[in-house]
Amino acid sequence: MTTGLASLALLAEFPFESVYVRSIIYVSLYVSIIAVVLSTLVSVPIALVVGFTDIPGKRFIKSVINTGMGFPSVVVGLLVLFAVSNQGPLGPLELVFTKEAMIMSQFVLATPAITAVSLAAVTSVEENVRDAARSLGGTRLDVALVVIKEARYGIATAILAGFGRAISEVGSVLIVGGNIAGSEGVSKTRTLTTAIQLEARQGRYETAMVLGGVLVAIVLLVNAIVVRLGDDKVMG
């Protein structure tokens, strides 16, 4: 009981009003949310195409998705770094050590997860429902939208899975972002995870733990919000 209160006290003392802490939370959320949104816009259509059409190379795409889910994230970081580095094909865009490069890396990591779970969700929509939508005069797009709505809980789960993967990322965002914080303490590419890594590296485990607590709290909060939205049937 006392240790619980002690950690709560530590959390309460935590300098949330500090520009530094707020800025690293902001960078974490900014990068992860944008990456997940972009990834969802790509993943759900892919899931629909793979689930319901007969395009050639379907099996290949499926195995790419499955491999991607287990792909070591730090390797993704290296590949993105190579791409955006001055030496790489995207060099002229000057994206190295920027939030944009981090978003690219998160996008590559989140997409397989979101696609795979979405695929399971949309293919579990009964064929009868799709037939009904079509028989009522639906175009392929109409039917796709119906499928998405019917599978909305599964897709929400997919998005949460992608978000979880993105915001927990350390290695790849460290490599492509550079963990930069300005001299006034405002983070440019430092996230909660890379900040934790920094504190741990210097042996400041207590601070690292508190930052970790903040990260966990954010993940729980996002989960709760998405589940709540589902319950309200806002999309009903």
Partner: protein, 254 residues
Amino acid sequence: MLRADSVSLAYGDETVVDDLTLSVDSGEVVAVIGPSGVGKTTLLRLLSLSLEPDSGRVTFDDTDVWAVDEDERLALRRRVGMVFQEASLFDASVARNVEYGLRIRRQWRERFREQLRSVVRLNGTADAVEDALEVVGMTEKIDQDARSLSGGEAQRVSFARALAYDPDVLLLDEPTSDLDPRNTAVIESAIETARNSGIGVVVATHDMNQAERIADRVAVLLDSDLTEVGPAKAVFESPEDERTRKFISGELVY
């Protein structure tokens, strides 16, 4: 109005329908009877303009459906409604389900705006939905979650859903096979209402009594062949084809 001429379709090696000719006009009920199997469903799907026959023609108001471009075919397809054996309602409210056909026929910008507001409160949609639900006696449950309905209630909503956008043709595939007598009666009454409002109705059923009750004309589908097509009374009382006679009298068992 809607006519299938000498249509044939095979799945792989198996011939499902063979050289069938069937038409439906406005304001009539045609019952297609025969044993449970693939043939009736396939025939209905051919008539719903979503399945192309291997040979033969399907015409709607004298337009060859499969000879025109996709946009025109979509417009024709949207004049047909279909009710299946299973209700297959969407995971949404009854109102949302029934207005679906109306909503997708609107322009995209309007659809987006409707999505953001709560359902059914604009542009005559509300009226159409209520009217359709009234035909099947489900107006009380308009805001209820569709998944919470009983089987019979769901099927009634499914009927309203197909009716709401005022189709010219309504196709029903064994609509009351899973229903109790009370709900069956509601559906049959709704079929009559539809017929009286000028819709051409085709009902596939294995229940000959039902066919006798509701049909103006009857088509008998046996072994991928239409053995008999004619006025209901004539078919039941004096069938021309031997197989038809045996089927109706219960001698042919499938």
